[in-house]
C-alpha cells in the first residue's frame, strides 16, 4: 500500500465563487488519524468536499491512493456534520446503518441476511447493537455520531472523512468515538476529520493539517502542532489558553 492516503498539489478550490482554498500542498499518511484544524471560514469543509470529489478544483490535483477522488469514490466513506441531518426523518438506527450498503446493493439487489449480519456487526463495533430498533430522533448526539460511524464501518471504505465528529457532544461520548476511530485505524483505515478543539488535537490525532485558506503546516503532531504554527494559522498570538497541554 502506498504510504500516502491523500496527496494534494497546488490545490485551489472555489466555493460559491469565492476562493476558499488557495494553492495548497499536503499529504495525508495512510493508516493514521489526521485532523484538519483551522479557524472558522478557513475552508475546512470545502477541503473535505473537494476530497470527496463533490466540488471541482479550480487548479491543482488531488489524489487518493494514487487515483482521483471521483474514481476512488466507492472507497471513501463520509460522516457529515450532525447539524446537516434531519433527525426527524422516519428511520431507525438499523435503517441508517443499512444505508451504508446502498451503494453496493444498487437498485434491485436483495438485502440478504448476510447484509443484515454486517449491519449488526457494525452496530456491535460501536456498541449500539441494543439500539437497532430505536428511532434516530430519540438518540443523544453521541449516539447519533456512533450510528454514522457504524454506517461508515459497514461501507468498509479505505478512507473515512468526518466533518466535525465531536461537534456538540459530551466528553464521554467523545472518548468513545475516539476509541472507535482508533480501532478503525488498526484495521488499516485512513481517517481524516475536521476538528475544532485545539486542546484535544494532541490526544486524539497522529497527524494534523493546519489550514487557513492555505496550509500553514502538515505532518505528525509532534513536529508541526507547535505554538508558532498555530498562531500563524489563526493569525493571533497568545493561544496558550487553548493549547493548555502543549
Amino acid at each position: 500500500m502506498s504510504a500516502d492516503a491523500i496527496s494534494a498539489t497546488e490545490l485551489s478550490v472555489d466555493y460559491d465563487g469565492v476562493t476558499a482554498i488557495q494553492d495548497v500542498d499536503f499529504t495525508v499518511r495512510a493508516e493514521k488519524l489526521t485532523a484538519i484544524v483551522g479557524p472558522n471560514g478557513a475552508g475546512k469543509s470545502t477541503l473535505i468536499k473537494a476530497l470527496l470529489g463533490l466540488i471541482p478544483n479550480r487548479n491543482g490535483t488531488i489524489s487518493c491512493f494514487g487515483t482521483s477522488p471521483k474514481q476512488y469514490r466507492k472507497n471513501i466513506s463520509y460522516v457529515p456534520q450532525r447539524a446537516q441531518i434531519d433527525w426527524e426523518f422516519p428511520a431507525n438506527v438499523f435503517d441508517v446503518v443499512a444505508m451504508g450498503l446502498y451503494g453496493e446493493l444498487g437498485l434491485l439487489r436483495r438485502f440478504s441476511s448476510a447484509h443484515k449480519d454486517r449491519v449488526q456487526s457494525a452496530l456491535t463495533d460501536v456498541d449500539m447493537a441494543d439500539f437497532a430498533a430505536r428511532q434516530i430522533s430519540q438518540l443523544s448526539g453521541g449516539q447519533q455520531q456512533r450510528v454514522f460511524l457504524a454506517r461508515s464501518i459497514v461501507q468498509d471504505a479505505e478512507l473515512i472523512l468526518l466533518d466535525e465528529p465531536f461537534g456538540g457532544i459530551d466528553s464521554k461520548s467523545e472518548a468513545v468515538i475516539v476509541d472507535i476511530l482508533r480501532r478503525q485505524k488498526q484495521h488499516g483505515k485512513s481517517i481524516v476529520a475536521v476538528h475544532h478543539d485545539l486542546s484535544t488535537v494532541k490526544d486524539y490525532f497522529d497527524d494534523v493539517i493546519l489550514l487557513n485558506k492555505t496550509v500553514t503546516a502538515f505532518g505528525p503532531i509532534n513536529d508541526v502542532f507547535t505554538k508558532s504554527n498555530i498562531e500563524k494559522t489563526y493569525g493571533v498570538s497568545n493561544l496558550d489558553f487553548l493549547t493548555g497541554r502543549s
Binding site: K74, F89, M99
Partner: protein, 284 residues
C-alpha cells in the same frame, strides 16, 4: 360493479384508485424532501399550457376534449415554471420561496386571463377546461383512464426501483452521490415524478388541489409509521382509498367537484390521525 355505479363512474374509479395510490407513493418522498410547495407551484403553472393546448387542439380540428394535447400543454407549461423557479433562485438574490410564490401566482393569473379570453370568444366547447381546475370525473373517457392508470403504475414502479436511492438522497445527499448517483440526477428524478403525477392528476383532482394528493396522505402516514418504506405504502393506501371514495361520492352528487371531495376526505383522515396518535402518545 358497473351495474351498480354506471360505466363512467367505474372507469373513473379505476383511474382514481391507481392515481391515488401512486400519488401517495410518490408523495411520501416529496413530503420528506419538503418539496410540497414546489409541487403546488408546478400544478398552478400548468394552467396557461392547458388553455394553449386546448386552443391548439381546437384549431387543429381535433376533438375538443383531446386530453393528451391538453396534458402535453400542461406539462410543458409546468416545466417552464420549474425552469423559471430554478433560474430565479440561481441567478438572483431572491429566495426559493419568493420564486415559488411568484411563479405560482403569475402563471396561474396568466392562465386565468387566457381562459377568460377563450370563454369570451367561445371557441369549441371550453366547458371541459374548467374540469381541470377543480377536478371532475363525469366526462372521463376510457383513453383518459388508460393514460392515468398506466402512468400511475409507471410512477409507482419507479418508486419501487429507486426507493433506496431516493431515501438516501433525501436523508443524506452526499451518501447517494458517493454511491454513484449524482444529487442533480436524484433531484431531477423526484421532480419528474412530481410533474408527471401532477399532470395526470389534473382531471381527477384539479390543478388547485392536486398538491393535496402529494402531501396529505404522506403527512397522515407519517403519523403512523417509523420507516420510509412503510410510510410510502401507507400513504399510497390512504391516497387510493380517499380518491376512490371521493370519486364515488362525486358521481352520486354530480354538483360536487371530485377534487374537493377527495381533499375533504383526506383531511378527515389526517385530523383523526392527529387526534388518535396524539392520545396514544405515539407521535414519533
Amino acid at each position: 360493479m358497473t351495474e351498480l355505479i354506471g360505466y363512467n363512474t367505474a372507469l373513473a374509479l379505476v383511474g382514481a384508485l391507481l392515481f391515488g395510490f401512486s400519488s401517495g407513493h410518490v408523495g411520501a418522498f416529496v413530503y420528506l424532501r419538503k418539496a410540497s410547495l414546489l409541487s403546488d407551484s408546478l400544478a398552478h403553472a400548468t394552467l396557461p399550457g392547458l388553455v394553449i393546448g386546448f386552443l391548439v387542439s381546437t384549431f387543429l380540428g381535433m376533438e375538443e376534449k383531446n386530453s393528451l394535447v391538453l396534458l402535453l400543454g400542461a406539462g410543458v407549461s409546468a416545466l417552464f415554471g420549474v425552469v423559471v423557479i430554478q433560474w430565479i433562485t440561481a441567478r438572483t438574490k431572491l429566495g426559493f420561496d419568493t420564486a415559488i410564490a411568484a411563479v405560482l401566482s403569475v402563471f396561474f393569473g396568466f392562465g386565468i386571463v387566457l381562459l377568460t379570453g377563450v370563454q369570451s370568444v367561445s371557441v369549441g366547447q371550453q366547458a371541459g377546461l374548467e374540469d381541470y381546475i377543480l377536478g371532475s370525473v363525469s366526462g372521463m373517457l376510457l383513453q383518459d383512464v388508460v393514460v392515468i392508470g398506466l402512468v400511475s403504475i409507471m410512477c409507482s414502479a419507479a418508486v419501487v426501483v429507486y426507493r433506496r436511492l431516493l431515501t438516501a438522497f433525501i436523508f443524506d445527499p452526499v451518501l447517494s452521490e458517493m454511491a454513484g448517483y449524482a444529487q442533480h440526477r436524484m433531484s431531477f428524478l423526484l421532480s419528474l415524478l412530481t410533474l408527471v403525477i401532477t399532470i395526470i392528476g389534473l382531471k381527477i383532482v384539479g390543478l388547485i388541489l392536486v398538491v393535496a394528493m402529494l402531501t396529505i396522505p404522506a403527512a397522515t402516514a407519517r403519523l403512523w409509521t417509523t420507516g420510509v418504506w412503510s410510510m410510502s405504502l401507507l400513504s399510497a393506501l390512504f391516497g387510493s382509498v380517499a380518491a376512490g371514495i371521493g370519486v364515488i361520492i362525486s358521481a352520486l352528487l354530480p354538483s360536487l367537484p371530485s377534487g374537493a371531495v377527495i381533499v375533504v376526505l383526506m383531511f378527515i383522515a389526517l385530523g383523526l390521525s392527529i387526534v388518535v396518535t396524539h392520545l396514544r402518545g405515539s407521535n414519533v
